[in-house]
């Protein structure tokens, strides 16, 4: 199934991706973000926070936003 993945890490990235049916948010995060820790991200599906075992649906919009971003001076 296809869903919109928005990753706000680094330069930002938004595109449609294919995932298997029954994929949970936790699995999706592990697949896309590798060694990043889920607790360092605000994970939302369709603009709403979801539990880690939420099963993704067709056309869902998954947004990952780091909770720690280093500013400068």
């Amino acid at each position: 199934m296809k869903l919109l993945f928005i990753n706000n890490l680094g330069g930002g990235f938004a595109d449609y991706v294919d995932v298997n049916d029954g994929t949970t948010v936790e699995e999706f995060f592990g697949d896309k973000m590798g060694h990043e820790r889920p607790e360092d991200y605000l994970i939302r599906v369709n603009r709403q926070p979801v539990p880690r075992d939420y099963v993704l649906q067709e056309n869902d919009r998954v947004t990952l936003t780091p909770t720690k971003i280093e500013g400068a001076g």
């Binding site: 330069g11 605000l42 709403q48 936003t65 780091p66 909770t67 971003i69 280093e70 500013g71 001076g73």
Partner: protein, 376 residues
């Protein structure tokens, strides 16, 4: 915001994003026009060059070459500007319902969301922020929709401290990464711009919050370790640690004004510890201030002491010696020296200057009292 207001604000944001899109195309057209104008000038000058050559007008040909060279130099800059504008990915302006959904989600994410009609700004207030035990308070993030169309030229949002707790050394710095209400986005710059371009308001405000709640010790306007500043022990002036000095003796922090360098050993000393040379007024550390004139006991720096005497005492001694020498020269000589040379000084008395041994009036009761000697 109630539903009616929410839809109205969504419409305003959509208009702003349309303007941003139009502004990008307008800038592309302007840059393209500049580029095309330069190319036309090149064509014109190449014709002039050909005409000059056909008639052997070398001076005119040289002028054409110089003009062409200058125009060629402008082309890379124009092309670079144009490419950076054209390279930007096309961003669809989101639908009204999508923006409304963003606004609705924004209200779920933040407790304090409002649209300020006077400022034409969508505002969010953060929770109180504390970084490494330094309380910074709450911040109001205001996105000015009127400025959104100029996103590529200037920042359309400002971050203002609600209850400011600025750095002691710079009141404009209300957060290690905020100065004059402008956030230095650092690692978040590109993602924030992308979020604004596509009307992802929740992403924009949450990323700003993520920067505000993160401290980057490698690149702050004012480091948190210096947030309260360092107070000068002498005058109380608050400074950052890089601007402060420390007294070598009492080890208290002092400002530039209250510090002085010892003229003797170059150590830094505070006003309280510093002594002063009574002759030249230069500062001295407690150690160097122990040096005194052996005659009058005034504190003297090394450079003012001569033979252990201050300049005043030295002058007096020299004067005294000179007078003594003159007196001895005029009086009949007695003693050993006179005996040796048969009652007269061999060099007519001039040798007496600077040679006390030659002038000792043994047994005459006229021994001169030299500086530093104690009368018995």
């Amino acid at each position: 915001m109630n539903d009616k207001e929410l839809v109205r604000v969504a419409g305003t944001i959509q208009d702003a994003l349309e303007q941003l899109r139009k502004h990008r195309y307008t800038r592309c057209a302007a840059q393209l026009s500049l580029f095309a104008g330069t190319m036309q000038k090149l064509i014109r000058d190449s014709r002039r060059l050909a005409t000059g050559l056909s008639r052997d007008w070398f001076a005119a040909a040289e002028r054409s070459c110089m003009t062409i060279n200058r125009q060629l130099g402008e082309i890379p800059f124009l092309v670079s500007n144009l490419q950076s504008l054209l390279d930007r990915r096309h961003r669809d302006v989101p639908s009204l319902s999508a923006i409304a959904a963003e606004l609705w989600a924004l209200q779920q994410e933040f407790d304090d969301v409002e649209f300020n009609g006077e400022e034409d700004a969508l505002c969010v207030v953060t929770e109180p922020i504390t970084l490494e035990d330094t309380y910074l308070g709450r911040f109001r993030v205001a996105l000015y929709l009127g400025s959104l169309r100029e996103l590529y030229q200037k920042t359309p949002y400002f971050v203002m401290a609600v209850d400011p707790h600025p750095a002691a050394t710079d009141y404009a710095v209300t957060h290690p990464h905020v100065t004059n209400d402008v956030l230095c986005e650092g690692d978040g710059a590109a993602a924030i711009r992308a979020a604004l371009e596509t009307g992802r308001l929740v992403d924009f405000f949450t990323m700003v919050r993520s920067i505000l709640t993160t401290y980057n010790p490698d690149s702050p306007y004012v480091a948190l370790s210096d947030w309260e500043g360092v107070s000068c022990y002498e005058c109380g002036y608050v400074m950052d640690s890089e601007s402060s000095y420390y007294c070598t003796y009492c080890e208290n922090a002092i400002c530039d004004e209250c510090s002085s360098v010892c003229a003797g050993c170059s150590e830094i000393v505070c006003k309280s510890c510093a002594g002063t040379c009574e002759i030249c007024d230069s500062s001295l550390c407690p150690q160097c201030a122990k040096k005194q004139c052996s005659e009058c006991e005034s504190v003297c720096c090394e450079s003012c002491l001569d033979d252990g005497l201050c300049p005043v005492c030295k002058e007096e001694r020299d004067k005294h010696e000179e007078e003594q020498g003159t007196e001895n020269n005029q009086e009949p000589t007695t003693g050993q020296e006179a005996t040796v040379v048969g009652g007269r000084l061999a060099d007519g008395g001039q040798r007496a200057h600077g040679n006390y041994a030659a002038l000792q009036p043994h047994g005459m009761g006229q021994a001169p009292l030299l500086p530093g000697q104690v009368r018995q």
